[in-house]
C-alpha cells in the first residue's frame, strides 16, 4: 500500500502523519507541493495539518491552488483515497473535494486539547476499524475549525451518512457538531481532529491506530 504525504510551506504535521502511516504498514513518500504529479501507483494521499502558506487569504486557499492539488483532485476523480487532517481538511474544502467550509472558531480562541469524538459511521475505509457509536479520543489544535455548510448540503450529508465523526463537546461552533465528513464516494475524508497524534502510547492514547490500520488493511487487500 503506497501513501503520499503532501508537504506545503507551513505544514507541521506531515512527519507525524508519515510516522502514523508507516506504523500501520504503508510505504510512504513525502511529496512537495510544487510537484505536478503524485508518485506512481499511490493508493492514498494524506494532506497534513499545519499552516500552509501562513493561512494567508483563507486557511488552505493558497495550498488548494498549488500544482500538486490538481494531481490530488485527479487522483480523487479516479476513485483514489484522500485523507485531510486539520489544515488538510481546509485544503480539501477549498479545492472542492469536500463540501462546506471551515470558519474561525465561534469563540475566536485557538483550541488545543484532546476531545472525545463519536464515530458516526463504520461504512468507509477510514472508519471500518470502529463501530458506529464508538467514542474515540483525538487531539484537536486549530483556530479555524468551525464547519459550516448550507442547509441542503447538510441534509445530504446526514441522509447519506457522510458525517464520519461528531464532537461530543463542540469546541468550535461547528454546525451539527461535525468533526469530519466523507465525500460522495466515501473515499475522501476530511477531519479537524488529529488521528495521527493518537497512535502511540507516548501520545497518551492510541484510538487513532484503528483508522490507519483499517485504511491500510483495506487498501492492501484492494
Amino acid at each position: 500500500m503506497r501513501a503520499a504525504v503532501i508537504v506545503f510551506p507551513g505544514s507541521n504535521c506531515d512527519r507525524d502523519m508519515a510516522v502514523a502511516l508507516r506504523a500501520a504498514g504503508a510505504d510512504v513518500s513525502m511529496v512537495w507541493h510544487k510537484d505536478p504529479d503524485l508518485p506512481e501507483s499511490v493508493d492514498l494521499v494524506a494532506v497534513p495539518g499545519g499552516f500552509s502558506f501562513g493561512d494567508y487569504l483563507r486557511c488552505g486557499a493558497i495550498a488548494a491552488q498549488s500544482p500538486i492539488c490538481k494531481a490530488i483532485v485527479a487522483h480523487a476523480a479516479r476513485g483514489g483515497y484522500v485523507l485531510g487532517v486539520c489544515n488538510g481538511f481546509q485544503v480539501l474544502t477549498e479545492s472542492g473535494l469536500l463540501p462546506g467550509a471551515l470558519m474561525r472558531n465561534a469563540a475566536l480562541k485557538f483550541v488545543c486539547k484532546t476531545l472525545d469524538l463519536k464515530v458516526e459511521t463504520s461504512s468507509s475505509a477510514f472508519t471500518e476499524g470502529y463501530n458506529a457509536g464508538d467514542l474515540v479520543a483525538f487531539p484537536v489544535a486549530h483556530h479555524d475549525g468551525n464547519y459550516t455548510a448550507d442547509p441542503d448540503t447538510l441534509a445530504r450529508l446526514e441522509a447519506d451518512e457522510r458525517i464520519a465523526f461528531r464532537y461530543t463537546q463542540n469546541p468550535n461552533g461547528s454546525v451539527a457538531d461535525i468533526a469530519g465528513v466523507l465525500s460522495d464516494n466515501r473515499r475522501v475524508l476530511g477531519m479537524m481532529p488529529h488521528p495521527e497524534r493518537a497512535v502511540d502510547t507516548g501520545h497518551g492514547g492510541t484510538d487513532g491506530q484503528a483508522l490507519f490500520r483499517g485504511l491500510i488493511g483495506q487498501l492492501a487487500n484492494a
Binding site: 477549498e94 472558531n105 475566536l108
Partner: protein, 76 residues
C-alpha cells in the same frame, strides 16, 4: 487599471469576529452599535483592458470562498 474587491461573509453566516468587535465598541461606551460585520478589501493592479469577467473569475476561483463569502468588484 485598478480594481478593488470587497469580500464579506454572506448574510446569515455568523461572523464571530464582527461580534467581538461589536462587544468591544460597547465596552468603549459606543452605544447603539447593533451589528458589526468584518470583511476584507483586496486591491488589484491590473493590465489595462482586463475585463470585469476576468476579475469575477478571480473572485470565484480564489479571492472569495463562495460557500461562505460574497464579493463585490469596484473598478477604480
Amino acid at each position: 487599471m485598478k480594481a478593488r474587491v470587497h469580500v464579506m461573509l454572506k448574510n446569515g453566516v455568523l461572523d464571530p469576529q464582527g461580534e467581538a468587535v461589536r462587544h468591544a465598541l460597547g465596552n468603549l461606551g459606543f452605544d447603539g452599535v447593533s451589528g458589526v460585520r468584518q470583511g476584507k478589501v483586496i486591491e488589484l493592479d491590473l493590465a489595462d483592458g482586463t475585463s470585469e469577467d476576468t476579475i469575477t473569475d478571480m473572485c470565484e476561483k480564489l479571492l472569495a470562498n463562495t460557500v461562505i463569502e460574497s464579493y463585490r468588484v469596484e473598478l477604480l
